[in-house]
Symmetry: C2
Subunit: 366 residues, 2 copies
């Protein structure tokens, strides 16, 4: 990855806004700009932050627990270890680096932390400037190297699914199936899952975000598997829906409707179209089929270093798609008491259309 | 769980501060006050918030995806579904509920979100008041029902460890061992892991937060296993360190030193002692043994609905321990290029001492 090029882009933006440096706390932004793989336990327990000065080389601030990782991952950065918290280190380090205007990520900094940081640094003559999505705006367009990594992540995810698919039986519970998937992901080289796998059988599949339980996989009922993994930092996300055994006519009708909606959404995708328009194309198909109120979530979301990122495909999304964006297209119909159908693929937005990253066709065109 | 009693305590605090309602966004606080089990994908993607009015019954606000879960988990709350985001719903709902002063969790609200919420609600005559750790201050003391759930979580975690322990061999990689642990956890009924398991062999065990890799478990070298699970919402967290094969004299010396430090920390624990004092007792043992600089993290942390919560046992922690707090005691020594030793148990603070929640003694007193 060309970290230096990315950093230069951030630096140009900082200079334009007359900001001396950016404090990068968002974990995927950190990895995007440096390759640092330290993992956070939620926003309250960070494995470190970057300081990107408006010019010159970058600094990685972390604690003792991540020192080796930081030095291994980013040998070209200056690594600083804080022993009494990040803020105490900043108080010493920022004046040394002659930073008096410090940008911070308002969208990934807790209100209480920003307040304390602001009042402490003010005493040292340092002003904090809230910035939003500065790095995310770079991340939203993927270069071909990134697209290739995303393709590999999608392919590995599909391989896992295809290996698991023939083993599915009514003897397994949802949890056991989810575990089999996640174990195989990691055996095959995934860093981790990109989210907790969803395995939902029968009625449970009426919950878009069902948590796998102790229910055994039901024969002749809808089964939703929504799964994704992380490979080289990049996420995949795929949903398949099918029936172990014999599908009812109702199931087949719903499945075909969802697939038709997915294809209608995909057809819309190209540079210049808004997320809203793509969502609308798919949503109209489901509404025309009589299930408009049963598709309560957005059509899709961006995927990259994060499994959910910009852009969104939703009724609220006025953002225009651009070549190099990666989105999921995942319409669904959810009928409480019966079950649900959702189908999800990941695609690259191209100038004049889209490129499907998925090649798996299991139960897609039934 | 006595949710009503907990809510009453929050309401008393709100009335005392003349705040009309509290917006609860922190997931464990949400679960503590309502039993709602919806899972968040990080702070940016919430599965809902609670509104606790200063008097009267509570409201759960979530989106379509979590509607069934919300209604199942908290049938005694009023569930509201937002379709165009939380803020739009708040704009309508708060005036209806006659809420004009709204407390929010400053320590679990993004700076950018607080800013937008504040300016939007101001136009409706609603004032936002940042609050910090109001619910956490209740959560820090566990009642006997919670202690029993934590005990069950610890016991299940130990069972998993003890079942895995005799199967460990040099043919497995760190990842395979971690997967075996996590699979067994879920087979035995855990909701999930409480954190990504650490399995670190040989030199890798010099990283306190090592990520399991493709290294095969090394014979005659230090092996760290740090594992925890979630059962009925409550977390466990345990570290064992041992040598598959024959331990060197150096290893035994280090292990005994760490164990001695752990016992010294434990001996200090009782109501009224500060976290700092407990940490110091253990740290002194390691420093006296000549490894003071090799123990770079705090001695322990609180555990409950969250795997890392208050109180901390660290050189910075001036908070006094109280009966009913639950903490880990986990000293460690980390030698880059050689490996590390860490031992961790969970204990309840009692009036005049501590109660060990762990019963496993594998390789503890060697």
């Amino acid at each position: 990855m060309n970290y230096k090029k990315r950093i230069k882009k951030v630096q140009a933006r900082l200079r334009r806004r007359k900001i001396d440096a950016l404090l990068v706390s968002q974990p995927e932004n950190r990895r995007y700009l440096s390759g640092y793989k330290g993992g956070d336990h939620g926003i309250g327990e960070t494995s470190g932050v970057l300081i990107i000065p408006a010019s010159g080389s970058i600094h990685l601030l972390t604690d003792f627990r991540y020192q080796l990782q930081a030095e291994q991952d980013v040998p070209w950065a200056t690594v600083h270890i804080y022993r009494k918290g990040l803020l105490k280190l900043l108080v010493d380090l920022l004046p040394e680096l002659k930073i008096t205007i410090l940008g911070f990520e308002s969208h990934y900094t807790l209100h209480s932390v920003a307040g304390k940081m602001s009042s402490t640094l003010k005493k040292k003559g340092i002003r904090l400037v809230p910035l939003t999505n500065l790095v995310e705006k770079l991340r939203i367009i993927k270069d071909e190297d990134e697209i290739e990594l995303l393709r590999q992540s999608v392919r590995l995810n599909e391989k896992v699914f295809q290996k698991i698919f023939p083993t599915i039986s009514g003897k397994m519970t949802e949890i056991e199936l989810a575990l089999a998937i996640e174990t195989l992901m990691r055996r095959k080289g995934a860093e981790s899952t990109s989210f907790d796998s969803i395995v939902a059988t029968g009625k449970n599949s009426a919950l878009p975000h069902a948590v796998p339980g102790r229910t055994k996989i039901k024969k002749n009922k809808s089964l939703t598997i929504d799964m994704g993994l992380v490979l080289n930092g990049y996420c995949s996300d795929m949903t398949r829906n099918f029936v172990p055994g014999k599908a009812t006519e109702k199931y087949i009708r719903l499945h075909r409707l969802v697939r038709k909606a997915q294809l209608a959404g995909l057809e819309k995708i190209r540079t210049g179209v808004t997320g809203k328009e793509v969502d609308h194309a798919a949503r109209t198909v489901i509404a025309d089929g009589g299930y408009g109120t049963m598709f309560g979530h957005g059509l899709g979301h961006g995927v990259g270093l994060a499994v959910h990122e910009e852009p969104r495909l939703s009724p609220l999304s006025r953002k225009k798609l651009k070549a190099g964006m990666i989105v999921t297209v995942e319409p669904g119909i959810y009928l409480p008491g019966w079950g649900g159908v959702r189908l999800e693929n990941m695609v690259v937005v191209r100038e004049d259309g889209y490129e499907n990253l998925n090649t798996d066709t299991t139960w897609l065109d039934i």
